[in-house]
Structure formats: structure tokens, C-alpha cells
Symmetry: C2
DNA sequence: CTGAGTTCGGAAATCGTTTGCCGAGAGGTT
DNA sequence: AACCTCTCGGCAAACGATTTCCGAACTCAG
């Protein structure tokens, strides 16, 4: 593991008997160079095991060909899925996508933004941790580089936004459930997340709009543990049947698991719906859920990032996936 | 969104009436500076909204205080969990952890390593995509910076390794199953992954060792879809009962879901075990699985990365989590 | 044969920060 | 008073690449 100083362009230039300008031009293809000379440079670079220092390049050039993604938590499978699709969307472009996890903390989130800004990224994609308290992070990002918010947003910022129509998503769930049974006969409970994030907020609003302002709400976070907890509370209150509209698939999966383990039947006793459309194939019964068009959203982000347009907001339309946790 | 040129140290120095050397020393705390002068610098930096350019700093300093993590796929929840725990392990250090997804491609993986090396990271953590074909990526990384392989490894490289003892993990499963019932009476099927990665390889070897060299094996990939597919094949062959030892929790979850949807009972007809210990609370019955000590492993990585020791390999001991998919 | 146009290599400035060195001034000791 | 030791600001040289500018060589038409 003993390491010697890495070769620089000057070393390559010396070995090839040319100037560093020529080396740079050969290696980055910036300008035409005599083929024989180019060959000598390539050989020398190979012999010295030369690898470019992107710090030097980035410092000199205006652009680093890098996009940063700051997300709240990798263990939320929806965020992981977004990250993966985004990575794939950038895979065959010249741009590198780098990720940073904010660990659900606005302090760490700001640190991530600072870090990427300091690295002179060309653009920043942000899934804000908090609807209000991430304002500093978003503003900081947007003040320096092209910034796109994904899935969640901080209202009133100059940054673009790409997400799904939560109102329409909840409407799909409502219409599906209403088509199958009389909703008034079956008590509906919304198992959501406290409206700290815009998605949690919008889903709660949408539920109140479509299911009635007085719908029963249990608010926690986006986790399977909370789904279990909520189901447990519901059963503790004596419920023996009902409909659980959940704000995320992980919540729904946890809720279903708890209901089943308590001896209830799904969907006969309890109907459960999820949201996001990731990992629906993990459980039995498979989840009825609202699928977000993540590939399309990732492509939209990629296009926004390279475009020169002004900030804009785009809401994409989700689709309903009918699984086994709701009547067919 | 109109942006003006960002302020540099020279701008701050001019406004504060000092030299850039002093600005640098105040802002990075490298050397003592007269308090009054320091105050002037801080004020000037604030007024100009100065933000450091890490490219310049990194170029001048030897170190960038950055560690890169290249992983195969974010949608594999075990990798996401590792990423998250690693991020947390670095959260209160000075070091930034940046992630790059290789999208299960060795080409993209090499690109990720190149990218991080070019950015002069201080260390690289690698979950290799392929046991053999990632050799180039690992060698490239290890030839330039301190490199640690995580979870999977490429044999015969100079890089360190942190992972779990797969042999012991499978032994835990074997002993647990053997304690509850006569294994010879119940056909055991290993639902694993083709041995492209060291973890898949080692788990397959361990299964052959503990369950017998002639144990029935179905090999696919680390996904829920494969778990469903494997279960489907098994049922297609006429099985009505048995034991499924799976190479990962996602595989096990998929298998359980398919078995249940086909009308079989778990664990009465089929016993199923997983591996990894992430997301066991998502399903019902909850998975019996081998839990990897991810927090401890993440801490070990962090320590390896900052230490000056030579390359080393550490295997951690997994624990058994008994869930509802196997007899109590 | 000459002047215009084109191609292409090299010298040197530049990106933003850190840091080795120098020197000025302060403080202490004999 | 002479000398030594600290402390701390500034100058200028790095770090490693890109790029502007210049000029040499070559092509080609008239």
C-alpha cells in the first residue's frame, strides 16, 4: 500500500516531450493535435498511470460536470428508488451524480448543501427534510446554483420543483374505495405523517378534501414501525373492521403486518391502501397503492438540470395499482 | 435566479483590509489572528456572503476530508441501510461521505471510482458489484487511496474488508431449523443468488456445508421478484411443503408473498428464512432472519478509514432473529 | 513569388486557496 | 543595553489543470 506521488500533466508532458497544453488538449479532446504527437501523449499517460485531478480541472473550468443530490434518509425505500432512478438517468450523460444523506436532520442537510456548493456542482437536487425548516438549505442552494426540489418542497422558494400530484393520488384511492363499498358504512382512518414535509402536508389536505374534513387521522412518520403502531392503536380502540388509507407503502406494510398478526383479515375486515408504489411486491396481500412515475420524474429532473429555463414546478400524475389489500 | 460571480477570499481580504493569508487563517482557524482583525474578516465574509471553494482548498491541501462510497444499487434495502448507517457514522466527524450508485454495472462502478479518485477523496468504501469483474475497480481504488471493501469483496486485492461471517450466519439458520424439526424429513431448498458476488458465493458454500452438498439450490438475484419466481417454480414442481432458506430478506419476502398468495401456510407448510435483517418488520409473518450488525460494521469502516493501519479483513458475527416464518 | 488564411504547438496567465518564509514589533532576561 | 524568544501579518509560491494569445509552418490562390 505504499503510494508514490501521483503523476501530473507536467510529468506526462515531460515524458512525451511536449507541453502541458498539448497534453491537456489530447486528453480532453479540446482541440485537434497531430496524431503522432497525440499517440505519444496517450502512451506516456498510460505508462505513468496518469489520472486527471478533477480539482484542478474544476478550478480552472467553470463547470465540474457534477450534480449533487441531498436526500433525507436512504432507508426510506421511496427515496432510495428516486436516488437510483436519478442515478440511472444520469448514467449515460457526462454528468456525475453524487448523493448525500441528510440523516433526517436539517443541520446535516445544510452541511450537505454547503459541501456540494463548495465542490462547485453544476446543479443541486434536493428532497427537503422539512417543509419550513429546510428553507435555509433550499435558499442557500438556489442562491448559488440551479436547484430542483424533488418530491417535497419548501413553499415560496425560487427553486424548481418536480413531484407528484398528491391531491390526484388521494383522489384515485378515494374513488377506488368508494366504487367498491359504501364509505360511510366503513370507518376510514388516515394513517399519515405529521405535516412536516410538503408531501405529508398535501396528502393530509387531500385526504380531508376527498374523505371529509372530519376524517379520523393518525399522524406519525414515514416508517413501517409507525404503521404497526397506528394499527395497534386502532385495534386498542376496539375497531374490528375499517379502512386504512396510508400515506406511504412502508406505513401500509407495517399496518397490514400488525393487523394480520392480530388475527384480522385483509381486505375482508380491514382495507388498506399505500402510497408511492415501491416495494408493493414484498408483501402478501400485495398493496393497493398509488404509483408515482419515478422514471418519468427522474428524466424530468435530468432535463431541468441541463436546461437553461427559469425555475418551474411540475406535478406528475400518479396511477392506481390495485392489489390485494382492497376489494377488487 | 440571476447570479453574480461568487465572492472569493481576495474579495473578503480587500473589504476587510487584510491579506488573503489572514482571511484563510481566520476562516480555517489554522493559526492565531488578532481578535479585532478576525472580527473584521468574519464580518466582511458575512457581508459578501463568502463561501469557500473546496476545489481550491483541496488542490492546495493534501486532503479533501471526503470519503466516497460506491455501491451497486440503492434499491437493495440492505445496501441502503449500509449507506445510511455509514452516513450517520460520519455525521459528527469532519469528513463528508459522498455516495455513488454503480447501477449494478461494472462499467459505471469504474466510473464512480475514477470520479472519486479524481476528486481526491481521502478514502474509498466499495461494495463491489461483481466478485471477479470488479477487480479492476477495486485495484484502481486501492492503488491510489485507502480503500475498504464492504459486505462483498474481490479476493486477492490489497484492499481491506469489512463484512459478516456468512458461514456463521448460515450455521445459525441451520441450527435453528434443525432444533425445531427433522431436516431430513422436510426438503430444504436454498433460494439464493448466482455466485457473482462474494456474499452470494459464501452463502452458497455455507449452505452446501451445513445443509449438505446435494441441497437443492435455486439461484437468481437479490430481489423480491426472484423470491416470487423461485417459490413459483417450487410449487410448479409439485411441492406442498418444505423449507426455504433464502440468501436475503427481499428474496424471502417475495417467496413468502408468493406462497401465501398460492394458498399455502407459513410456517405450517413452508418454513422460510431470510438474511440481512433489514425490513423484517414489513411483512407478516415477520421474517426469521440473520441480522447483520450494520451499526458496528459502519463504525468499523469509519475507524479503518481514519486509521493508518495496513489493509486488514474483519468478519463480524451475525445474530439470529426468530420471526414468524419458522417454527418457534 | 507573395500575401492571405489555416492549423497547431508552446508560453504563460489564471482559477481559489493554503502555507513556508520573512520581518516587524512586543516582551522578557541578564 | 543587548540579546533572545514569541507572536502574528503579508508576500509570493505552490497545488494541477485549462485556455488565451502568439507565432511558426504550411497551404493555396492569383
Amino acid at each position: 500500500m505504499s503510494r508514490t506521488r501521483a503523476a501530473t500533466m507536467a510529468d506526462v508532458a515531460r515524458l512525451a516531450g511536449v507541453s502541458t497544453a498539448t497534453v491537456s488538449r489530447v486528453l480532453s479532446g479540446t482541440r485537434a493535435v497531430d496524431p503522432a504527437m497525440a499517440q505519444r501523449v496517450t502512451d506516456a499517460a498510460g505508462r505513468l498511470d496518469y489520472r486527471i485531478n478533477l480539482l484542478g480541472r474544476g478550478l480552472r473550468r467553470t463547470s465540474t460536470s457534477t450534480v449533487g443530490l441531498v436526500l433525507p434518509d436512504l432507508r426510506n425505500p421511496f427515496f432510495s428508488a428516486l436516488g437510483q432512478h436519478l442515478a440511472r438517468a444520469f448514467a449515460d450523460s457526462e454528468v456525475d451524480l453524487l448523493l448525500f444523506s441528510a440523516d433526517d436532520s436539517i443541520t446535516t442537510e445544510v452541511r450537505g448543501v454547503r459541501s456540494f456548493l463548495g465542490r462547485q456542482v453544476d446543479a443541486l437536487v434536493l428532497i427537503p427534510v422539512h417543509e419550513e425548516r429546510s428553507a435555509e438549505a433550499v435558499a442557500l442552494a438556489a442562491s448559488s446554483v440551479r436547484t430542483v426540489q424533488l418530491d417535497r418542497r419548501v413553499p415560496g422558494t425560487a427553486a424548481s420543483y418536480v413531484g407528484v400530484s398528491n391531491r390526484d393520488g388521494v383522489a384515485l384511492v378515494h374513488d377506488h374505495l368508494a366504487a367498491a363499498a359504501d364509505l360511510d358504512a366503513q370507518p376510514v382512518t388516515y394513517v399519515g405523517a405529521v405535516p412536516d414535509s410538503s408531501s405529508a402536508h398535501e396528502r393530509l389536505d387531500a385526504v380531508r378534501r376527498w374523505f371529509g374534513a372530519d376524517v379520523d387521522c393518525l399522524l406519525g412518520d414515514f416508517s413501517a414501525a409507525w404503521g404497526r403502531e397506528a394499527a395497534s392503536r386502532l385495534l386498542g380502540d376496539g375497531a374490528a373492521a375499517g379502512t386504512l388509507v396510508c400515506a406511504a407503502d412502508v406505513i401500509a406494510a407495517g399496518a397490514v403486518a400488525h393487523l394480520l398478526s392480530a388475527g384480522h383479515r385483509v381486505p375482508d375486515d380491514f382495507r388498506v391502501t399505500g402510497f408511492d408504489g415501491v416495494g408493493a411486491e414484498l408483501t402478501h396481500p400485495s398493496l393497493t397503492t398509488v404509483r408515482q412515475p419515478v422514471e418519468v420524474m427522474a428524466a424530468a429532473i435530468r432535463d431541468l438540470v441541463v436546461s437553461e429555463e427559469d425555475a418551474s414546478a411540475r406535478w406528475f400524475e400518479p396511477t392506481l395499482v390495485v392489489g390485494g389489500t382492497s376489494p377488487a
